[in-house]
Symmetry: C2
Subunit: 311 residues, 2 copies
DNA sequence: CCTCTTTCGTTACAAATGTTAAGACGCACA
DNA sequence: TGTGCGTCTTAACATTTGTAACGAAAGAGG
């Protein structure tokens, strides 16, 4: 059996060398092009590709004296284990990307070897996973906290999905509580549920009640359901469980049709990382913090400030 | 108790933000200077300082298909666990620095939490430690494999030495075997020796028989001793124990005056990382490999090639 | 209160990096 | 043996980054 495409291998080596020379040795691209025997334009391309594919990675050191005031205040106000904020970005899309990147950076440096990571449902989570898969050298072990399997699959652009997935083989929302309960007891489902408490870390998004909510866009809920939930005091959702300002579950019919880790079980988990940013999410994040579901919060500075002011 | 110098804190925050914007978000320095409200010149300075002090770090991903041919060949030829090579540098001084940096990168991503690291004696080791101390977020636990304490202390330029040190409180070379043996049994010495087998990793240099050898420059040995050792077939040293081409100890008087982990004990350790590069070290590295003292080798590509050709 | 020193901002310039368009080259395929 | 296709190099140009010189502002010490 061959070792794969020789041309790609060579490209890879070039990329690694270019990255080494540029970032580790501070050589100019001109110099590197001479050392590697390629054009300078190509060196630029190699470096770009190295960044894109995660061959070269940037990390910000996270030691004790990195905290800004808002971070410290959040930690003590809500009894959190840790908080990490990113500076403000120029658009909401970029902000979510930023926060996802920060979360991936946060996780990857704390997750070792064969550790398992529970993952929630949602757009932010999905972004985090993409970054993670790229940065990881050994495959990650990921356990899903909810149904809705399709959500975790590699998205179009990404290359190989460098992870071992243990997904709950079920849709997120079933058509009846009865069916949910039956599925819940299926051995293959049961098996994943048993893994969940064994993971060292969990990463979940925090949903707001805005029109942008993933759960709406995906068609899991319709606008009507949504409006009713709002009337009942919902400010956001965790793992698709809607909660009120205090983080208490709003008990509605749909909730009993969900294939999703319960809020009580979520609270029992250690190292639950909540990932969410943007002012529209402030109420939802506050609910998550008050409910005690989240141990570590990754957000942006503006939102962190707002959380402090509104609590 | 105050939280330290407010001005330095602020400088730190600026530095972190600048690094985040520049490396994570790809903003231009111009843009960053506006966001941060400082001059562009200062942004350049902040970024420079962030790199210097390890606030921002570059890492090359080390997955399975990074290996170049020489690395794979070395692994299989000598039954090693891993090999990492750096591309050639422009001078020997830079080469050593490169290799030290690579070693630090290698170690830091495999060392977690409260892990302990054994460290040998020598210039290369010392460089590795400096890089390590800078990159680590939590203090490292380092255990010395030899006496010669002064060698491990923070060198002039470095800032805080972010490590917990467990050093053998003794010179490297004592004036008699008798004294060595007595010292060896002192409780404080014994204590460190007992820690050594418990560490997860060890990093050692590999010395050659050149005039540049640390052990000579430090005045531990004089030129005479050195010449005699060469006549007896010495090709290099590990932890100041001189060995022949096959890696067998050359039993001389000085060896029995050394406060240094024995070669047999060294061989028993897991994950011993040998760090050495440059053509002058080829014979010494070969001896270390043949003797089976080293599990992981960090060197440069040119030397790797030479190792294969001369074995 | 006045210097001295240090640090930062400003500016202008030099060097490096990134982008683009045109053409050369190799390679698959008819 | 062409003919397309993609990828590379080359070269010119635009943008970004790095450096150096100078002057203003702030703090230290007399």
């Amino acid at each position: 059996m061959g070792t794969g495409d020789a041309k790609l291998d060579y490209e890879n080596i070039l990329m690694i060398r270019a990255a080494w020379y540029y970032y580790m040795e501070n050589y100019t691209q001109q110099r590197i092009s001479e050392l590697l025997g390629v054009s300078r334009a190509r060196v630029i391309g190699l470096l770009e590709k190295a960044r894109q594919t995660g061959v070269i990675q940037f990390r910000i050191r996270q030691d004790g004296n990195r905290y800004i005031k808002a971070e410290q205040d959040l930690i003590s106000r809500f009894g959190l284990k840790d908080v990490f904020t990113v500076p403000k970005a120029d658009s909401l899309a970029n902000l979510n990307e930023s926060i996802a990147q920060a979360a991936a950076m946060y996780i990857i440096r704390r997750l070792k070897g064969g550790d398992f990571l529970n993952v929630g449902y949602g757009d932010t989570t999905s972004r985090v996973l993409n970054h993670l898969a790229m940065a990881a050298e050994e495959p990650l072990n990921m356990v899903s906290l909810t149904g809705g399997v399709n959500y975790y699959l590699p998205n179009t652009s990404s290359n190989v999905f460098n992870a071992r997935l243990y997904l709950i083989p079920s849709p997120l929302l079933l058509s009846s509580q009865k069916l949910r309960d039956s599925m819940r007891q299926e051995p293959v489902v049961e098996e994943v549920y048993r893994m969940i408490p064994l993971s060292r870390m969990s990463v979940i998004g925090i949903g707001s009640m805005s029109r942008e909510a993933t759960i709406l866009k995906n068609g899991v809920l319709n606008e009507n359901d949504f409006t009713i939930l709002k009337l009942q005091g919902a400010v956001g959702d965790l793992l698709s469980h809607f909660v009120d300002r205090e983080g208490k579950l709003i008990s509605v019919e749909q909730d009993r049709q969900l294939m999703s880790t319960s809020l009580e079980d979520l609270r029992m988990l250690e190292n639950v990382i909540g990932v969410a940013g943007g002012l529209s999410k402030v109420d939802a994040i506050l609910a998550a913090l008050r409910g005690g579901y989240v141990d570590i919060l990754i957000t942006d500075e503006e939102t962190a400030q707002a959380l402090l002011e509104q609590s």
